[in-house]
Symmetry: C2
């Protein structure tokens, strides 16, 4: 089963799937600023474009480009800035 | 604008977007065999999982894993076999 979801008035869309016994999603973010909440811990990998992120408990923003990944703890929220439309893979850990 | 599409009775879903002045999509394929038709030439990159493909004019199947890519000419069709649910990036060239 493939589940399509949209967030932030359709500025972020994703397709959820199961692979290798775990849940993942691929998605696209239009330029903007977003705050995401996590339930489970997750690993975000930039597929195309770039994600600037301020991780929970961090003061500074860091920018990740295509091929880079970062992990976010569960039960947390994190801030994201997108300068150009960006595709990502999210693996729930 | 993010355009969600589905193909093959919802066994393949994708999100189309524009980035860096060109069109791309990310999508997910459930296990199965599919034949895709291209209008423009495109480059497919495996994001997670694996794609076995028989390219136009080829006799043999080749398998591409996460991080691998292959190009397909325009106005062509190609056959794909998916053994495990697979996420991909498609860049229209």
């Amino acid at each position: 089963m493939l589940n399509t979801n949209e967030y932030f008035d359709g500025n972020v869309k994703s397709i959820g799937f199961e692979a290798e016994g775990a849940r993942s999603s691929v998605g696209v973010m239009l330029p903007g600023s977003y705050t995401f909440a996590t339930a489970a811990p997750e690993r975000m990998t930039v597929v195309k474009g770039a994600i600037s992120v301020k991780l929970p408990g961090h003061v500074d923003w860091e920018t990740y480009n295509a091929g880079d990944d970062f992990e976010v703890p569960g039960d947390a929220s994190f801030d994201v800035k997108i300068a150009e439309t960006t595709a990502y893979l999210c693996d729930y850990l």
